[in-house]
């Protein structure tokens, strides 16, 4: 049996098996659970890298469950897939790389971070399950299977958000709010799936995309799918759950929640580009996404300026950065209909948006980890109570400066590269949008100057006498993220040429997506 064909499922099945094993292991040894989690996630990280190399050289991979050929030909002549399959192209593996890196670093960070908690085995089991859910959302090619993995990710993240709910009220409240909105969105997705099934009697995304005809029902399905997926990604004005959930979850989980929101964002792009693509009215839908992006950018950053809680502030910044991705990809979608505009600036805008997803996962994860480090040592998230921490936590200060510079789009860090792509291409589409994006970037810098001043600068405060540097594994996780940020900032062209451009192409070309399953029909 040749395991190299089974890499797509092993990436998901190994963390799943580890998640099932962790509660049994914890009966024997509580300490071993964290080690097992980290091992499983590192294995899946390695497999993801191998799969990425394979996909970027060979082409999209299709993995069918329970059969060898993806689609079977009926006597009636038409061929369509009946089994669940993973369909992994450049975009999926791009998101998969983000998820693998983030989850592995989150587990490493948790090794020290969860010392204060009891019930650590459940924490690690839920973390593995959240990773499995995000991977599945990104890899699957079956629309109902996507719903199942969406529910896995939602329930695991809710359980992790309300993990501290035994002692405190706020985490339970945040978990309840996120549970309600995410189950509503999942049920809307299921209703749309039912519409598709009733119309075309297939559940495979590529098969639906090959026969979709944009009837009235398809319009309603799109109108149900778009807002709920944008809500899961945290687009204004459906963003209110985001600060609650991000600020109340433990810091490594917050970093993974960012990846989960980006998986929903990926699903939104997948629905718009691969499922409907040119058949829909691209100008209307593109402008809807652009308006989502504008509102998210501006309201997110202006709400962030007046926050006192450091993680709430960063959560509002996550909303505002999501706006950049929506803006870039929305511009790409709006000009999808006319080829020369697409070739002129549309593809560049989409490259900026997609590249910004990876950059955002990296520097926002780093910032949340630094906030978690501050919380780990000082025990507070209130910026008014902090001050002068740079005297005690040298490494954390350096990592925070790197992350803040990256999110504010200061050269030579990675945030600048993707934002530059977005500015220049969006300026050709509509100058006003580009100017608003630059203003938002300036406000981002301003609010992070505020955080840096009130948390790190200032005199040594007496209540933080015994504060010292965080343990080694937390420093390791933050250091790896900082190295990734600096590397992306120095050599952005490598990433854009080798990872981002194929991802954009796999989004734009619908025939390639359907052809991998249905054999070029």
């Amino acid at each position: 049996m040749n395991l190299s064909n089974h890499i797509p499922i092993l990436i998901i099945a190994i963390p799943l098996l580890a998640a099932f094993l962790v509660p049994l292991i914890s009966r024997i040894n509580k300490k071993a659970t964290g080690i097992l989690t980290t091992l499983a996630l590192s294995v899946s990280l390695l497999l993801t890298i191998v799969l990425a190399v394979k996909i970027l050289t060979v082409g999209p991979q299709v993995y069918v469950f329970g059969a060898t050929s993806p689609s079977l030909t009926l006597p009636s002549g038409l061929k369509f897939p009946i089994r669940i399959m993973f369909q992994i192209d450049a975009m999926s593996i791009f998101m998969g790389l983000i998820t693998a890196v983030v989850s592995f670093l989150g587990a490493t960070y948790s090794l020290s971070f969860t010392k204060k908690y009891d019930g650590v085995d459940k924490y690690y089991s839920l973390l593995l399950l959240l990773t499995v859910g995000i991977f599945g959302m990104e890899f699957t090619g079956d629309i109902f299977n996507f719903f199942v993995f969406l529910e896995i990710a939602s329930i695991a993240s809710v359980a992790l958000i309300s993990f501290r709910g035994v002692d405190l009220g706020e985490p339970a409240e945040a978990g309840f709010k996120y549970m309600v909105v995410s189950s509503v969105s999942a049920l809307m997705v299921l209703f749309a799936i039912g519409i598709f099934y009733g119309e075309y009697d297939v559940l495979n995304i590529a098969a639906i995309a090959s026969v979709i005809k944009y009837s009235q029902l398809d319009k309603i399905a799109l109108g149900l799918l778009m807002p709920v997926l944008a809500m899961k990604a945290g687009a204004v004005p459906m963003h209110m759950w985001t600060p609650d959930a991000y600020s109340e979850a433990p810091a490594p989980i917050t970093m993974m929640l960012v990846a989960a929101s980006q998986a929903s964002l990926y699903a939104l792009f997948r629905v718009v580009f691969s499922l409907y693509n040119i058949s829909l009215n691209t100008l209307t839908v593109g402008w809807i996404i652009i308006i989502f992006g504008l509102l998210s950018m501006f309201i997110g950053v202006t709400m962030a300026i007046i926050q006192k809680d450091i993680k709430r502030l960063m959560a509002y910044h996550a909303i505002s950065q999501t706006g950049y991705m929506l803006l870039g990809v929305g511009v790409g979608l709006a000009v999808l209909a006319n080829p020369e505009a697409l070739k002129n600036y549309g593809i560049t805008a989409m490259e900026g948006g997609i590249f910004h997803i990876m950059n955002h996962a990296m520097y926002k994860g780093l910032l949340f980890l630094t906030a978690g480090a501050l919380f780990f040592r000082t025990g507070t998230r209130d910026l008014n109570k902090m001050g002068g921490l740079a005297h005690y936590m040298k490494y954390t200060t350096i990592f925070f400066i790197i992350g803040a510079a990256a999110i504010a789009g200061l050269p030579p860090f990675n945030g600048f590269a993707s934002k530059l792509l977005i500015y220049e291409s969006v300026y050709k589409f509509n100058p006003l949008l580009s100017i608003i994006a630059m203003v938002v970037s300036i406000l981002t810098l301003a609010s992070f100057v505020k955080v840096f001043h009130s948390a790190f600068l200032g005199p040594k405060l007496p209540q933080f006498k015994e504060v010292k540097e965080v343990p080694r594994s937390m420093v390791f996780a933050m250091a790896v993220l900082s190295c990734i940020i600096i590397f992306f900032g120095l050599f952005p062209d490598l990433i854009v040429k080798n990872l981002v451009h194929p991802a954009v192409m796999s989004l734009i070309e619908q025939l390639q997506y359907t052809g991998t399953v249905l054999g070029g029909m």
């Binding site: 509660p23 329970g66 009636s76 459940k122 329930i155 359980a159 009733g198 009235q216 309603i220």
Partner: protein
């Protein structure tokens, strides 16, 4: 004021749901059903199960079932984690 906006939005949403219900394929006569006909014809000799639904749940769409069992496991772990520290 806010209530009026929300009520209006709810009415619009509900009317669109009604439109979708009316445009749905006629109840009782599924027009396109290749996949299900394939299941009904070939499930017995491919999987050997008399119960076509079970053969779909555990064979054709077995991975969904794994995900579903995982969802239940996730909920159990979440509930137990939420009530940890609560003594018997």
């Amino acid at each position: 004021m806010k209530k009026i906006i929300f009520g209006l939005a709810f009415i619009i949403f509900f009317s669109f749901l009604i439109v979708s219900a009316i445009n749905m394929r006629t109840f009782g006569e599924p027009t396109i059903s290749e996949m299900d006909d394939y299941f009904i014809e070939n499930a017995q000799n491919e999987t050997g199960a008399n119960n076509v639904v079970t053969s779909i749940v555990f064979d054709y769409r077995g991975f969904d079932t794994l995900g579903e069992a995982t969802v239940l496991f996730t909920a159990v772990v979440g509930v137990v984690a939420l009530f940890r520290g609560v003594k018997k």
